[in-house]
């Protein structure tokens, strides 16, 4: 097995381990648009593949993946915004399988809706916090101050509690 094959195998294992992170971000940005979600997933994989040789050995795999794919999603979102501005706005046609089948999915969609309303930085903070990361880890990942992260989380939680009646 060559070095290249080795790298490919390692990367595929990483993509397999981190696919939940990828799918969550896809859902956050692409909503229920399956085609868009598919495109975004491909872009994320490509960006991860490009960045894979540069991964620091000491880095937290999940946080590293999250940072890269989140930025890919933002870039994709901005590109879409530009395309909408330059071309005719086509009315959004929901995917045929958008109906929420169970209560859990409904509740989850409500969380996603609230997350979509947040600015990018706060979205990242909350997604990492929802994944169980501590303030310090979140601050380290996003290059922010620990106290700032704590304050933000506290405020967002209050907002969410008011809006979500789960």
């Amino acid at each position: 097995m060559t070095h290249r094959d080795d790298t490919t195998e390692q990367f595929m294992a990483l993509a397999e381990r981190q696919k939940t992170t990828l799918h969550k971000i896809c859902r956050l940005f692409a909503r229920d648009n399956a085609a868009l979600s598919e495109d975004l997933y491909q872009e994320m994989i490509i960006d991860l593949w490009k960045a894979f040789p540069k991964i620091p050995p000491t880095a937290d795999e999940q946080r590293w993946t999250f940072t890269i794919v989140y930025h890919t999603a933002i870039a994709n979102y901005r590109q879409r915004l530009r395309d909408i501005k330059t071309t005719k706005i086509t009315p959004f046609t929901p995917h045929p399988h958008t109906t929420q089948e169970d209560e859990t999915n409904d509740s989850l969609e409500k969380i996603y809706e609230q997350l979509r309303l947040l600015p990018n930085e706060q979205q990242q903070i909350m997604m990492l916090h929802l994944d169980g990361y501590k303030y310090e880890e979140i601050a380290q990942t996003l290059g922010l101050d620990k106290n700032y992260v704590g304050t933000r989380i506290h405020r967002i939680k209050e907002q969410l509690k008011k809006k979500l009646a789960i």
Partner: protein
């Protein structure tokens, strides 16, 4: 911050977190079968695209080099060597000098042709030893007549007039 949160808040938040984590299982279940192949196919397609882009870049680079080389060679071929330039420059200058005043002086020259001819003839005849001179003396007036600088200095800039002068001079000398 966290210290301000009540146990009720904590319970609410942990329920949200549980809900959030519950989707992981769903995602893993849904994408269990095809995800490995999917990632592989995405990488392969990306690598192919990269390779073809590199090939295109190389091809366009080589094409550009060939075009530049062709351009340079054409430029070199089209430029006249310096030796040719030296040879061709004198008549060209004389021609241009002839043409510009010719427009003004063409009527003048035609009118004054008859009056000028004798003047020229006399100067030419002065340079020759005698009208009854031997044959080797002939080339001397001929070279004087063809000299373009002399033509310019005499203000007879019309080439037709000059040719007429030369013809008449030659016929005179032969006579």
């Amino acid at each position: 911050m966290k210290s301000n949160s009540t146990p009720n808040d904590d319970a609410w938040w942990s329920s949200i977190q549980e809900l959030w984590k519950s989707q992981d299982e769903t995602i893993l279940e849904q994408s269990q079968t095809d995800s490995y192949d999917k990632v592989r196919s995405i990488i392969t397609a990306h690598e192919k695209r990269c390779r073809s882009r590199i090939q295109k870049m190389w091809a366009s680079g080589i094409a550009a080099c060939i075009l530049i080389a062709l351009g340079i060679s054409i430029m070199r071929m089209s430029t006249i060597p310096p030796t040719d330039l030296q040879q061709s420059s004198q008549p060209a200058i004389a021609q241009t000098q002839d043409v510009e005043p010719a427009a003004e002086a063409s009527t003048h020259a035609n009118e004054e042709n008859a009056t000028k001819q004798p003047v020229k003839q006399t100067t030419a005849e002065k340079s020759t030893p005698s009208p009854t001179a031997s044959v080797p003396a002939r080339p001397q007036p001929a070279t004087i007549a063809y000299n373009p600088t002399q033509v310019v200095c005499n203000n007879s800039c019309d080439s037709a007039a000059v040719i007429n002068q030369i013809r008449s001079f030659l016929t005179d000398t032969e006579a």
